[in-house]
Symmetry: none
Subunit: 193 residues, 4 copies
Amino acid sequence: MGATLRQYSLHGYHGATMKNIANEVGIKPASIYYFYDNKEELFISAFQQLLDNHQQEMERIFSESQGEEIARIFISMIRGLVNHHKINTGETVAYISLVNSPIPEIKTYLQEHLVNFNNWMYQSFEELLKDNYPSITTTAINAIIQQYVLLANGVFWSINLYEGEAFEQQVKIAEHFIQNLFNELNNTCKVLS
Amino acid sequence: MGATLRQYSLHGYHGATMKNIANEVGIKPASIYYFYDNKEELFISAFQQLLDNHQQEMERIFSESQGEEIARIFISMIRGLVNHHKINTGETVAYISLVNSPIPEIKTYLQEHLVNFNNWMYQSFEELLKDNYPSITTTAINAIIQQYVLLANGVFWSINLYEGEAFEQQVKIAEHFIQNLFNELNNTCKVLS
Amino acid sequence: MGATLRQYSLHGYHGATMKNIANEVGIKPASIYYFYDNKEELFISAFQQLLDNHQQEMERIFSESQGEEIARIFISMIRGLVNHHKINTGETVAYISLVNSPIPEIKTYLQEHLVNFNNWMYQSFEELLKDNYPSITTTAINAIIQQYVLLANGVFWSINLYEGEAFEQQVKIAEHFIQNLFNELNNTCKVLS
Amino acid sequence: MGATLRQYSLHGYHGATMKNIANEVGIKPASIYYFYDNKEELFISAFQQLLDNHQQEMERIFSESQGEEIARIFISMIRGLVNHHKINTGETVAYISLVNSPIPEIKTYLQEHLVNFNNWMYQSFEELLKDNYPSITTTAINAIIQQYVLLANGVFWSINLYEGEAFEQQVKIAEHFIQNLFNELNNTCKVLS
DNA sequence: GATGAATGAGCTTTCATTCAT
DNA sequence: TATGAATGAAAGCTCATTCAT
């Protein structure tokens, strides 16, 4: 539920009241209890949806960029991340706050999600890299993915700190790093072959 | 006040009760009101102290690393950032949450802090770079700083997501990026001279 | 709400607690907030009702005494005032305290009420006097009304100070003054005609 | 203590806080407890002083007006009452509120005061009337005093309701009534002698 | 499905009061 | 005399939740 995430992102778990959430939806607080047993369940449901959305969005971006040149694929992932979070600002804030959620069940669910997301990402990127560079080593694969992750995290956190041109610069720098990464990789491979 | 930040990082603004904060300090809730007019003032005071600490810590790390080789200085800044946040976990969580604080006064104070921090960083780094590379252009200075910022943000956000070896890898990658950055810069300069 | 006025008359605004008011009604304090936003609104509502009751009661007494001899009408007004306040003792005390209410909104509302009440009284009495004494001057009308008001105020304040026979004496004296007033008026008119 | 009465007249007993009273005097709340055991004692003391002041003031006015013509003496009493209450507005409001004081001890003290005041007034006026009209009956004395009391109460309560010219009119009407009273009395006596 | 009415629990805050200094 | 610091008690109020309708 969007209202739940919005209120959560604005005021935190304890500050997001059933009343305000209900108001935003245009119903009365008592009505929420027809759909959810209690506040915690409402939030768990909203958070799961948030994480699922995020996962699906990342997968969509990945599959849509298939066929492009490999460096472009990684860059598209960054761009997709940025666009998704720029459009759904509320969700992004909620996503960030989740890290410090006071609901234990949510914390463990987030951990699971991160593990799953990482697994998917590693597998997808591994396959992709092996297709493009058949003789690539596992060590090199890990190095590339970890570099991508660092840059993606840098961009992600920048969403909260910068706006407009300043933020755009950060994204461009991340893209530049990625491009360099693959240029080097291509050179190395050429030498080897 | 540490208790305030700890409770805030654990439960958010509305979840951090005066009772729990007082308990953690070993006084009664009513006693807090002898020193602070209300909850909001208590938190504003705690947050200001948090941000001031952070600023001072960064300045300390910077000045202590003076004299080292330039690439090492930037790397030391990353290391210092990491160490500071690994030691004061509670403060870090609080720092992250501040971005979405429901108190307007805090939001504006955070904005001011970020502006000041950026100014200080740009000036310090600019001077440093000019000392090391007298013929460096403003464009180059900005590019370097922005790259550093992206990497620092990537490391910072990673604090929340990874632990142990996985996190250590991220830091090493950031250091690697920085080292590369200055290697290139040195090569460019050598060619020019 | 009677309980609100009763508690107010007994303990004043700050001494009338939501708990006691709720107890008197047989509900829990929290329930009051379903109907009123806060304490102040509850009291404003109660006070408005009090003043409206008072106004209506005076109008009722006035219209019921129509048809009597003019002196009797004024005397009936005094009697009606006394009866009303003797029956609703709590309300009377509340009415008196209103003059010094610590709620600014109530003070202004009371001012408005007094102005309205005065207007109604002047118009009603003016019409009445003109009907009975067609050649009466405005000056004379005002003089009569003001004398009535002084006596009514004297009786009203006496409610708080005297009881039983002592109070009854005060009322009789007021009636006597009024009777005298109209005897004189009748004599003056007879001479003129 | 003026501050106590002022705060009481503004906010009532429960609304007059030790803090505000102390602030008005320029000391700290804790310091009040050096002079008074608790809030109730402070107020009892203040109220006693208020009533004593009132009594003394009335006696002073009475003795100062001795020697004047008898009607003038009664009129002076009304004027004195008005002046005293117009000057010490705070005290007047406090005086009115006392009638509904939530402190039982104060209520009984006020009763005593009223009895004493009435006794003094009756004795003084009785003596005065007997001096001026040696053959006056007790019934007549009582009638005159009660009429005076009704008018004085009317004027007193008007203090709270009217201002400026409107109030001045009420006082003049009271004076007029008194003058009439004694004119009649003088005529009756002349006829008898 | 939805809600008006009610409430227990708990929150922030105030207040009278205490006591060592 | 005066007060800084502390606190138990209670105030006004909010909130998640319930339940009959």
